[in-house]
Symmetry: C2
Subunit: 140 residues, 2 copies
DNA sequence: TGTCAACATTTGAGTTAGTCAAACATTATT
DNA sequence: AATAATGTTTGACTAACTCAAATGTTGACA
């Protein structure tokens, strides 16, 4: 109802969760854009610790497979990954080139350096937070 | 790696924060779309407890003023708000119509009902979470 | 009082981060 | 051998924005 204002606005905990997520995302974006990489591209690169097929990447990114195709196009064009058919010739396996691996390390460094989460909270508090968030994600 | 910890490397706390934010946002979207309102429109409606001028709404939504113009166009077209010049005739004041006010209450109800945050955590835990997130937002 | 800077809103054009459906190639099933 | 299933690609589209320039309005001040 209208007078139940405690939930309506940004004093609302749900809104705070969203806002914090957006803040962390913005920090990530700032860190990776400094390396001329868009956030989705950076996410893909950071997942390529070992060669992976595109469908797998899609599920890790929780996005459509066709979007991974576009990301891969871009990565290949930039010389950051190679795209080669696997044993099953339907699949394409993405592998970081040396340049890509280097960039991945730089991105990982940049992202972790400017992490508001780890600089705001003690290790114990970080564990607390992790546990609370996990509980939220677990429901349903 | 078949783990469906969907937002990659959820062992990374920052990723977990983002993922939780997205989950909460998705719940919000689901709740309001059931009332045929897009998430940004719903956010605007929920902020209109009292008449507000557009620039003010923009800052509450943290978006460009020109985007509020488009939201307002839509809201007016649907008969949910009126847009009238204020005393200062540069400003336009948005006011919920009766239909808009009714919808606002329905949205507030729908959004609060399906809140993962409040059903996953005890009141005390919610306070803990609020405090941790606030600390993250405060750093900058 | 006239002029000019500042402000609120609007418009037009563009961007980013995707989605969906259909097509295609390859492999698996019957 | 025919058909179904799987993985990727393409084309067309969308949502949710942003930016820059244009428009209308007001306040400041010489």
């Amino acid at each position: 109802m209208a007078q139940d204002d405690s939930r309506a606005n940004s004093h609302n905990l749900a809104a705070l969760v969203v806002r914090t997520g957006e803040r962390v995302k913005a920090d990530f974006a700032q860190a990776v854009l400094a390396h001329d990489v868009s956030p989705p591209l950076a996410r893909a690169i950071l997942l390529l610790n070992e060669p992976a097929q595109m469908g797998c990447l899609a599920s890790q990114l929780s996005c459509d497979q066709s979007y991974v195709t576009r990301l891969a196009d871009d990565l290949v064009k930039r010389g950051l990954v190679t795209r080669a058919p696997g044993d099953d010739r339907r699949v394409q396996v993405l592998t970081l080139t040396p340049a890509g691996a280097l960039l991945k390390d730089q991105l990982a460094e940049a992202v972790s350096v400017e992490s508001a989460v780890s600089s705001a909270l003690s290790p114990h508090e970080q564990e607390q937070l992790r546990s609370l968030l996990t509980r939220i994600l677990e429901i349903s």
